[in-house]
């Protein structure tokens, strides 16, 4: 068996692969079968709806150009905003995956390394049971910060300028600029621009703690940096 075609093909090739797939993939799938997958429409919540209406007010020109005008009837307007909120989420998610945002930003908070203090509640399974997490956007690298609790922390204006030119707001940021999300200036996001801002504002909007602000105590190391010992000052002067 160990050196024969059939042994290698069936036991090592098919058998061991199937065993691994059963134990490592089918088991978690079965364990989470009680958590139904939400559609994008079901993901639109009050916090996020507020952000979409806010986008409509901040960027009226772009919003009307790319998404149209809400109906005058208040009930119809409600439905219209919900529909547009879902559409923006889909557009934003497409840019988030297509631009490779997820290669530099994670979407999960671990229970270690003081991450709860920096970002908020540790990630839970039910947060990921939705259409926009297929495939899941946990991420494997953080050049920039985790984004799973980013929504609501900063205004949509801030995000518009930041996507247009990150270094304008966060000096020394290695993030690329995304001028193709705009019609020439940060005041005029195009559909992709509106979508990506809406998507980022949605992240974490399902939590009670939305918006979750960075609430950590400053590290004593930082104080040392801010009040350097005298010999450091000499070094600086010598430079």
């Amino acid at each position: 068996m160990f050196e024969s075609k059939t042994g290698v093909f069936f036991v090592a090739g098919l058998g061991f692969f199937a065993f691994a797939f059963l134990s490592n993939a089918i088991v978690p799938v079965l364990m989470y079968r009680h958590l139904p997958e939400k559609t994008v429409e079901e993901l639109v919540n009050a916090n996020y709806r507020y952000q979409v209406e806010d986008l409509a007010q901040r960027f009226p020109e772009s919003f009307t150009k790319y998404l149209g005008e809400p109906p005058t009837d208040p009930q119809a307007a409600q439905d219209w905003y919900n529909e547009k909120a879902a559409e923006l989420l889909r557009v934003g998610h497409k840019s988030y995956t297509g631009e490779g945002c997820w290669h530099c930003h994670s979407q999960f908070v671990r229970p270690v390394s003081n991450e709860e203090l920096r970002w908020g509640p540790v990630a839970r399974s039910e947060e990921y049971q939705n259409e926009l997490q297929r495939p899941v956007l946990f991420g494997t690298r953080r050049v920039g910060p985790d984004l799973s609790r980013e929504g609501g922390r900063r205004s949509s204006d801030w995000h518009a300028v930041h996507f247009f030119q990150p270094t304008a707001l966060s000096e020394g940021s290695p993030m690329p600029s995304y001028p193709w999300f705009f019609d020439g200036s940060p005041e005029r996001p195009n559909l992709r621009g509106l979508g990506i801002i809406a998507y980022v504002q949605w992240l974490g909007s399902w939590l009670e703690s939305y918006p979750e602000y960075e609430s950590y105590e400053e590290s004593p190391l930082l104080e040392v940096e801010l009040n350097p010992a005298p010999e450091n000052t000499d070094d600086n002067a010598a430079e």
Binding site: E3, S4, K5, V8, F9, A12, G13, L14, F16, F17, F19, A20, S23, N24, A25, V27, P28, V29, Y32, L35, K94, S95, T97, G98, E99, G100, W102, H103, C104, F108, R110, V112, S113, A123, Y128, Q129, N130, E131, Q133, R134, P135, V136, L137, F138, T140, R141, R142, T167, E171, G172, S173, P174, P176, S177, Y178, P179, W180, E218, S219, L221
Partner: protein, 462 residues
């Protein structure tokens, strides 16, 4: 020698090995290697905040970063391996591949897959799974291509009788695993499961792509070429058996170790950690077997450049596996997950081990394919030293930088501090990358000049 006999005594028959396709696979592979390097440089310059091409949509570093990894896996490594298989499988089985036209069809189809993937990525059609970014419309074609590859090479293998040589165990397993792995990663998490379960499947995919596609083809290649180059058999057949079956059993069980501390159930995380540590023990037996093989002919590392590539790659393999046994523990994970430590690890595996083995294999085969000695041994030496040295600096630099990033985050310093602390490491990485690029330019130039020489000598004969 053997191929000459085959050629002369059976002139109406086709030769055993189609050398032309081997050569074309290698040239194509080297072409993609340069594209991959370009993607790496765009991202590297972006990180040190000196990207001259900032703000151009089709040159976005985020998109090219995906091209970087996909071009190395599906462009360079897959094409290199296909060329290698066309050389080794007919020789090991003494039967040609199923159909030569099919071989060329696969060659063309695979280039459509790789170029299609590249175009899709550049136009922002990626899917969010590492190495599974391949746009949806490419997936079925790639799947068909992998099936045809398996059929084309399994045909000669099934015609052999009795126990198989070690390389063929690895190749057979790789044909099955690559097909299944690609299907699992490109269809299951996209269409069938979401969230945490998709994370488990995604982890399995990115792990198996290295472990069940690249690794078995790589080791099968080593078991074929090392004894030929050293002109002696593998040291221990028993250890070869332990190595293959240990890898086959433990390697597929580890995918979840890419997502430790996620909401994936803890007992599955522990299982992945334990099987990862188990496979490091298996790896050690394989490495001992190859050290046993070269024992007594160690000077070959100095005189024989392909052997030097192979054994340097193997030392890097041991280092990277040892690193893996450490980083897979929850203690290390808390610090190094999400940092450049992992990026360093990935470069050490994909370039330091498997690309270097392939470059060694090409260094050995290209003069045989062109029937001409290398134009310049000095360029071969430069290619080796720039690649091996550049890789060592890059991996060491990124692994060390990752520790600083991890400490900066755990200490709750402002996020910018972790970016600033990374700058010296990212700048060093650019220079290591330039060394690697210079090595590959030396290689490409050497191939070009050797080809010119081969053309001249062919004309002289005519």
């Amino acid at each position: 020698m053997s191929e000459d006999t085959v050629n002369s005594d059976a002139s109406p028959r086709e030769p055993l090995v189609d050398e032309r396709i081997v050569y074309w696979y290698f040239l194509t592979a080297v072409g993609y290697l340069f594209i991959s390097l370009m993607g790496g440089f765009l991202m590297a310059f972006q990180l040190i905040r000196h990207n001259p091409l900032q703000g151009i949509e089709l040159l976005s570093p985020g998109r090219w970063r995906m091209l970087h990894t996909n071009a190395i896996a599906y462009g360079f490594i897959a094409n290199g391996f296909l060329g290698m298989l066309h050389w080794t499988v007919p020789r090991l089985t003494l039967h040609p591949v199923l159909n030569r036209k099919l071989s060329w069809f696969i060659y063309a189809a695979w280039q459509v897959v790789v170029v299609g993937t590249a175009i899709g990525l550049i136009f922002g059609e990626a899917q969010p799974l590492e190495w599974g970014e391949t746009p949806v419309w490419i997936d079925p074609l790639a799947q068909l291509g992998l099936l045809l590859v398996a059929i084309n090479f399994m045909a000669p293998i099934t015609q052999t009788k009795g126990p198989l040589y070690v390389s063929l165990w690895y190749f057979i397993a790789a044909f099955v695993w690559t097909f299944l792995t690609y299907a699992m990663g490109n269809f299951v998490p996209e269409y069938f499961v979401s969230g945490t379960s998709a994370g488990a499947v995604g982890g399995l995919f990115i792990h198996d792509l290295v472990g069940l596609f690249v690794t078995p083809l790589g080791w099968g290649m080593m078991y074929y070429f090392v004894p030929i180059l050293l002109k002696k058999p593998i040291w221990s057949h028993g250890l070869s058996l332990v190595g293959f079956w240990g890898l086959a059993f433990f390697y597929p069980l580890q995918g979840i170790h890419h997502f430790l501390y996620t909401p994936i159930p803890m007992f599955l995380q522990y299982g992945a950690i334990i099987s990862t540590i188990a496979v490091e023990l298996v790896v050690t037996t394989v490495v001992i077997n190859f050290i046993g093989t070269i024992w007594g002919s160690g000077r070959a590392v100095v005189t024989n450049i392909p052997i030097r590539w192979f054994y340097t790659g193997m030392v890097y393999y041991f280092l990277t596996c040892f690193q893996c046994a450490l980083q897979v523990t929850l203690t290390f994970q808390a610090l190094i997950h999400f940092t450049d430590w992992v990026v360093g690890h990935a470069h050490l595996v994909m370039f330091g081990v498997f690309s270097m083995w392939q470059l060694g294999m090409m260094t050995y085969l290209i003069p045989r394919l062109l029937k001409t000695e290398w134009y310049s041994r000095k360029l071969c030496e430069a290619h080796y030293w720039l690649s091996a040295g550049g890789m060592l600096v890059m991996a060491g630099d990124l692994i060390l930088g990752g520790l600083f990033q991890g400490w900066s985050w755990a200490a709750l310093q402002p996020w910018d501090a972790s970016v600033e602390v990374s700058q010296p490491f990212w700048i060093t990485r650019v220079f290591a990358g330039i060394a690697i690029l210079a090595g590959q330019i030396a290689f490409a130039w050497n191939i070009y000049k050797t080809w010119q020489l081969s053309k001249a000598s062919a004309e002289a004969v005519a």
